[in-house]
Symmetry: D2
Subunit: 109 residues, 4 copies
Amino acid sequence: MSHKVYQSLIETLHDCMMACNHCYDSCLKEDDIAMMANCIRLDRECADMCGFLEQSLVRGTPFAEELASICAMICEACGNECKNHQHEHCQKCADACFTCAEACRKLSQ
Amino acid sequence: MSHKVYQSLIETLHDCMMACNHCYDSCLKEDDIAMMANCIRLDRECADMCGFLEQSLVRGTPFAEELASICAMICEACGNECKNHQHEHCQKCADACFTCAEACRKLSQ
Amino acid sequence: MSHKVYQSLIETLHDCMMACNHCYDSCLKEDDIAMMANCIRLDRECADMCGFLEQSLVRGTPFAEELASICAMICEACGNECKNHQHEHCQKCADACFTCAEACRKLSQ
Amino acid sequence: MSHKVYQSLIETLHDCMMACNHCYDSCLKEDDIAMMANCIRLDRECADMCGFLEQSLVRGTPFAEELASICAMICEACGNECKNHQHEHCQKCADACFTCAEACRKLSQ
């Protein structure tokens, strides 16, 4: 049951998808939205990629390592953007992204 | 923080998405795959819908109730198909689907 | 071949998905981004729903009418938001959304 | 307008997504479904990846080349499986997959 092997990564991806979508939603409500444009953009990229990989792993995709490799890169980029902003949702999102990037890299090696 | 309101439903959707994708993966490996064609089809429909609604709720979609209403219908249909099959993955998937259908209906009412 | 029946709707959904994602991308680059927050949000909702329905129709989903019904509602909401803004990408997106809403309603009736 | 640059690739991805989903739907209705299990699986992987990349390109993803690289690999794998089967939908899907793999490789180089 391949999804059992990936159970921990799936939960990490799920947490990251939630942090990114919550950060996206919160950024759209911020007064300084003009400064958050790239954060909004990367939140969506990262949420979509994490959600995609999550589903792929559960259904036993033959492309787990390659998808994890690009997901790590997108998480890293999103985390680097988010950590520049002081909003609590951005800082939490950065943490979730870096944790997820690390977990994805372990699979892709 | 709207996704906190939906926290329980998001976890239920996540469980159902995993059960459906695992059932889909397992059905494709069964000897009696010819009997599982409709189960494979509905597993994918249900996994995709649950994954879609999950993401939508976290990002504060304005269409939560309407999406939950159709998700409930798809979960119900998938559960009804799965419960006809004796494979353990089908029985577990049926349970996850019925639980999720019930949770979605609560939101959509 | 069910996707032949839906060929025209699939192309309309594809056009709307592209218009919404292009409008989303363009709004994130506008100087008046603070006024575009709801447009960005609805563009993503609409693009994701159109992309979802498009794929569902091609693979012969048993839930075509119900999904088309909610897609029509989301397209209508996105079009109503977009038409309030004078940017060319917003006006084009509004047109694509209203065309798609009309096509979805025809299926869902 | 970045999606104009990618216009041709987006149409190729759209064609491949449709061919894969149609092949998936058709395989699930074949009498020899037991032989089609891997085709069904790869059709879904490929359709989902093409649909994902399509949306990403239109919204100006910063990860176009990397996503195109993995999409090329998935299209190639799906095409190689499909070409083994004599069903018309499999042969057409193989053609669409190889065309799409080639187009993705051009972007990713």
